[in-house]
Symmetry: D2
Subunit: 254 residues, 4 copies
């Protein structure tokens, strides 16, 4: 038979059951497991330890909101234009969880994995090579630097502390710290480990696959955007934002 | 002064702090509060009780996944076409959290609120009027019936149990049950309270505003879609789904 | 056999052909038909007359852009956040072609069809009833009024002129004009027929189905947003818009 | 003054005018210019010649539809789930105009520009180097090969013919053909120039900036998806597609 076999191990439903990766939703999940625990299980196939849940929760709450971001503004404006479709406003904002924002998480993870995966005696040299390569190409080091938080992004050390208290191995965090020391030395000035860099490291510690790291930021920001849109429902500012922009953008055509 | 005053109470950042609705992110949230608790706080402005967290977690895990839904298929296919942009695949799936799916949650909530808001002695009559109105217009009762789960959606009674154990008042759940009895009597057959109906009631019990109920489903499904896409990364089926459809849709043009 | 028959008459491909609704793409469309003509054919199944093409082109160019709209701002900000994914920026903006914007086109079309579909002697009364109903419910008449264009939206009479010159029947335009007279009399002041109202009427004249009217606005605005994003690539302002908003939104939390 | 100057030359509106890049919409565009001409003008700032319009129309109609694509399926399924929001269904499909689809257009354009930009005597060597580099890295040549159209994508030669008849210079098309000869020789077998490769070349010929090439595909596909959704409104198959998938995907969990 030529048809490909199409399998999925995620979810199975019958007339009276919903089963998520082998776990009966009604009997074993609803009322017994948190959203964060179930998210971890759906991604990895196993229930998290208490420590892994703490780390995933820490990562999720860290990225929920950061004020008047492109995501929040886009969500509020699309809500203004299409109020009947809350999911559209949320989706519009989430589309901005991209290469300049959460994408750096994946790129940072790739660098962390290169350092952590090297022979212990070679790691310093690998870090050196990575940093020099970025300097020569004059591109920023993903996971380092922040436009607002100076000299240090306060979220990063806190994430490392939570991870340490949760009992993670520390392998990837150590690799990121080694990169950080190398960055500061090579650039001759201090560049903070930013929140996306720190989150890349702590999520690697708990076994979240690199390929879907960005998705953790999408889930997190979905929660934050709902907070923004709830406020927009109650005390709307989208019309004011629109007027502000109309009043401040000059037509420069003929 | 003619400019509108533009305020937001959601988030405030400085060089060394991120504050979410008055709570310092680093000092009081990361490592101390779960995603679910922080979501509740961002929406309502106050931290949830243990019981409120249990109810919100129960609602969130219930809607995460339901197998090969339009949302999961759309997300997997868009991931196939634009693999560089995980957020696009997630957003595409989330756009389906709409009127035939989570929208019924809002409509169910509106009916529940009408019954619960009536004078106790008038509630049975209000329920009667609502059901008769739907019968006469020959439209389905939002929150009732399910294409797969028969005779009963197993998720609904479990959600009520969790809510009862969590100590909610029970006002809205009672209103939904009164509607259910009226539905069965008026239609002359049993129609299950479905999961979105039950979730509408339990979320009203913990004070989630009706206007953003659908957003809770968006957050929940974002988590579920990440599970689907993680599997798609590891054992992809999107190409097989595409071939299956190509092989089974006949061109009926000239 | 229990499987539903799945047919589509839109497109058929073989190793050496692409056929769109019975028309060979390479032989009869590329280089011979415009985008607008092919769009009309894909929607209705027949090639447009010269007049129908003129009307569809007129409708399409009318809605392409209107300055610093929610759509343009959302597209520019999402482009800033996810520059690797131009389609995401365009999709984010297009999600705002919704109920407060192009949705009014569908609602206006529904009213126009009610008037135009009535017996000629009854039309004035039908228009009267529609307008009174909206006045009593204190909701705006879809297709009427504009926040900026006063006293008249200049696009509407031009669209009617183009349609007349193109030789349309004029049935639906007459119905909209009848509604307009009734509106002015009933409200005691002049409310302009706005562009979306006028477009609803002219698109009905050329046989575009009401159910997908909003989609014409989506196609049109996709073109306009591409213009905005092309400018954003060359002389970016998204960072400036973000800074403007950050500087003007005050944190009102504790 | 510290505020950045925010300018846009795209659109200016007053109470009685809409001006697009210096052109009065009502006086000079509606009824006088086609959608394709106005799209060209919004992107480049100048009105196209007759030949440039022919080429842009040819590119636009070529990519509108290709049958049961990921885009069409996603759009139909999201329409099923959120029928109240046609723009969401269209946006969901458009999110798939990504790296495996139209993204190859940008990558092909980059290669074409490298060859075309080289000194005439060096072009053969530049093409040789590009092809060898791809062979050594074992990655596909963007713009070459097609899963269905063998041995040749019939759309590509037609696009070149249209461009030649329209009087373009032919510089970029020649560069793509040089790449094609080099590919066939280096790989020892014939790889077709596919439609996205050909479109990259002809759009470069008429001055569309590389950075927004993908957006032309988004506009084009928006039109095609509207055709798909119009059919879905009239003779729906989304439920059937969903059932087909449910019946053919096996649960492989415990």
């Amino acid at each position: 038979m030529s048809e490909p076999v199409l399998n999925s191990a995620i979810c199975h439903t019958t007339t009276d059951r919903v089963v998520l990766r082998g776990n009966d939703l009604v009997e074993t999940i609803i009322g017994r497991k948190s959203f964060t625990e179930t998210l971890y299980m759906l991604i990895t196939g196993r229930w998290p330890t208490v420590g892994q849940t703490q780390v995933l929760d820490a990562a999720l709450v860290t990225l929920m909101d950061h004020g008047m971001t492109p995501h929040a503004i886009a969500a509020r404006l699309i809500h203004l234009a299409a109020p009947e479709s809350l999911q559209s406003a949320m989706a519009a904002g989430l589309l901005g969880v991209g290469g300049r924002f959460a994408g750096t998480m994946e790129q940072a993870a790739a660098l962390i994995e290169r350092v952590a995966g090297a022979d212990p005696t070679a790691r310093a040299q690998v870090a050196e090579d990575i940093v020099n390569d970025h300097r020569q190409r004059r591109v920023g080091m993903p996971g380092f630097g922040h436009p607002h938080h100076r000299p240090d992004d306060p979220r990063s050390p806190r994430l490392f502390t939570v991870a340490a208290e949760a009992g993670v191995d520390g392998h990837y965090i150590a690799a990121l710290r080694l990169l950080a020391e190398t960055v500061d030395r090579a650039f001759g000035r201090h560049l903070t480990i930013n929140a996306t860099g720190a989150i890349a490291a702590v999520l690697l510690e708990i076994g979240i696959p690199t390929a879907i790291l960005r998705g953790i930021a999408v889930v997190s920001r979905a929660g934050g955007l709902l907070g923004q849109l709830c406020e927009e429902e109650q005390t709307p500012i989208a019309n004011g934002l629109l007027k502000l922009i109309e009043d401040n953008v000059t037509y420069s055509g003929e």
